[in-house]
């Protein structure tokens, strides 16, 4: 198709390359966007429209200018980064269950991680692999000591939201970047561009690095991710880093996988459960009938979900039968909020801080302050695209 500028044919793009780029994140169905549908139908696209549309779909317009050979080179590079950094199971399309982790989010986080790696001389993070050959109890002790987690303080928070914030702060203090899914301030394509529900299936996952591993918590992109569930996800992902077991991630329906897990996966669940609901605390319940009240009290006291309580007790055979287990599972959580409703957006810098995580946020800001980042590079790191308005607000908000 031709790129038109001032009613002149400027340059001809490779239609198959354009189609390939628009299928980079297939679940987003970018190829069905009216601008591109018209472009294919008319075999032309106005340059201003291409630029504006690129900003909306968060893909640089320059990528559309690549010929087939160069595009293949770029796409191979992206694939290689994904293969090096995340579980092959995570990026594989899991048909049937709707569990498709957004590769867009993975790519964004890899970009941030690369930026930190290229611009800092961070030592190896000694937590990586430190849980190998440790028993579940030893692993829990090591984790709490390493991150300076005061477990009593953690449990004493009145609500799970504060307990989660405490855990995040502790984990982030030791060179682990925690990124949280946010839908505000154009951190991901807006709902007018891409149906936000497609990100809902993105599980919590880890992006591998020996110095600065990244943890992704789905947070607000998945309304099922209540605070108690996020706490569980965070500890589970921390166990992955400690065990150097990057080929696992937290399934959407963890109750089933938890119970059927074996080998390394069982150990990961074991450490997570031992951390959050220690076995010595549940032993006294052995032989007693577990009621929904007991379940909910435990969930509240230990800052996990009632489902996690039931699954853990079943794994420890404190809930002895399948029937009792199923009867105790709470009904599926129905989010109070509607994902489509309009919410007042937080400040840009708040959304960026959450999505990018502590270390990315600090490194990018330092890059802006020292002029080592170009304006374009900074915007791509922060927003995944050129976002002049957002960038201006961001700088004003942070006074940089």
């Amino acid at each position: 198709m031709w790129v038109m500028l001032n009613n002149h044919k400027s340059t001809e793009l490779d239609n198959s390359a354009v189609a390939q780029i628009l299928s980079l994140y297939p679940e987003e169905k970018l190829i069905e966007r009216p601008v591109f549908k018209n472009a294919f139908a008319n075999d032309s696209i106005n340059f201003a429209e291409l630029q504006s549309e690129s900003e909306k779909i968060l893909i640089p317009w320059q990528l559309f200018f690549l010929d087939a050979i160069n595009l293949k080179h770029e796409l191979d590079h992206i694939e290689k980064q994904r293969a090096d950094k995340v579980s092959a199971k995570l990026v594989a399309k899991r048909t049937g269950v709707g569990n498709v982790t957004s590769k867009r989010i993975i790519d964004r986080l890899i970009r941030l991680q690369n930026y930190i790696s290229q611009n800092g001389s961070l030592p190896k993070n000694s937590f990586c692999g430190s849980l190998i050959n440790k028993t579940e109890k030893e692993a829990v002790t090591h984790t709490t000591v390493f991150f300076g987690i005061d477990i009593n303080k953690f449990r004493s928070y009145k609500n799970k939201s504060s307990a989660l914030a405490y855990l995040i702060e502790r984990v982030e203090s030791k060179c682990i970047n925690i990124s949280q899914g946010v839908l505000t301030n154009k951190m991901l394509p807006t709902w007018q561009v891409v149906d936000n529900k497609i990100y809902k299936s993105t599980s919590g996952f880890v992006i591998k690095d020996d110095s600065i591993p990244f943890i992704f918590l789905p947070s607000e992109i998945n309304p099922d991710e209540v605070d108690g569930r996020q706490i569980y996800t965070l500890i589970y992902l921390l166990a992955l880093i400690g065990l150097n077991e990057y080929n696992y991630f937290l399934e959407k329906d963890f109750r089933a996988t938890d119970l059927s897990s074996t080998g390394a996966q069982r150990k990961i669940y074991g450490i997570t459960s031992e951390f959050l609901l220690p076995s010595h605390e549940t032993e006294e319940l052995r032989g007693k009938t577990i009621t929904p009240q007991i379940r909910d009290n435990l969930a509240s006291a230990y800052k996990i979900t009632p489902t996690a309580v039931v699954v853990t007790l079943r794994m420890r055979k404190i809930i002895p039968t399948k029937e009792e287990y199923e009867a105790l599972l709470p009904p599926p959580y129905k989010p109070v909020t509607n994902i489509d409703r309009h919410v007042n957006a937080p400040r840009v810098e708040t959304s960026v801080r959450k999505f990018c995580g502590k270390y990315s946020f600090e490194y990018i800001n330092a890059g802006i302050r020292t002029n080592s980042l170009s304006s374009i590079q900074a915007q791509y790191l922060l927003f995944g695209s050129v976002n002049k308005k957002g960038f201006k607000k961001y700088r004003i908000g942070l006074k940089i």
Partner: protein
């Protein structure tokens, strides 16, 4: 005609240089220099002008050359979104080197010599590779960013 790279802008701001000559920048260099303006708390002086706003600038030809240079040269990264300033300068040089057409599509007989001011070794190398003949004929000259006046 003087063409300035992003690092030239940083140099001018850092050294507080008052420019006597006019320098042109490409759309990508302008976009990349926004943080430089911010860091130095300065705006571009009037002697640094965006070439895309000049009446003789043919955006259509420029885009075609931009695509050509983008596919020809490495050193730009879609992962880091870096190196596109170089591509834009090469594209601009190409249309200037080919000659600016007038409104009737006739190539001007008169062509100004082109002076590029940059501190970027890799851009210098690309220009040397791409414009051997014009460099030899003195129609294009590369200067260090410290040579701006």
């Amino acid at each position: 005609m003087n063409i300035l790279d992003t690092n030239g802008i940083s140099y001018i701001f850092a050294k507080n240089i008052r420019l006597n000559n006019v320098y042109y920048i490409t759309p990508d260099v302008k976009a990349e220099s926004e943080i430089t303006e911010l860091v130095f708390a300065k705006i571009l002086p009037t002697n640094i002008r965006e070439i895309s706003k000049e009446s003789f600038f043919d955006g259509s030809k420029y885009l075609a050359q931009y695509r050509s240079m983008l596919n020809k040269y490495r050193g730009r990264s879609f992962y880091n979104m870096t190196g596109f300033g170089d591509i834009s300068i090469l594209a601009l040089l190409k249309i200037l080197d080919d000659g600016i057409s007038d409104t009737r599509g006739q190539v001007s007989l008169f062509r100004e010599d082109i002076f590029v001011f940059t501190g970027d070794v890799s851009l210098r190398k690309k220009i040397e590779d791409e414009f051997k003949t014009s460099l030899k004929a003195g129609k294009i000259k590369i200067f260090d960013k410290t040579d701006v006046v």
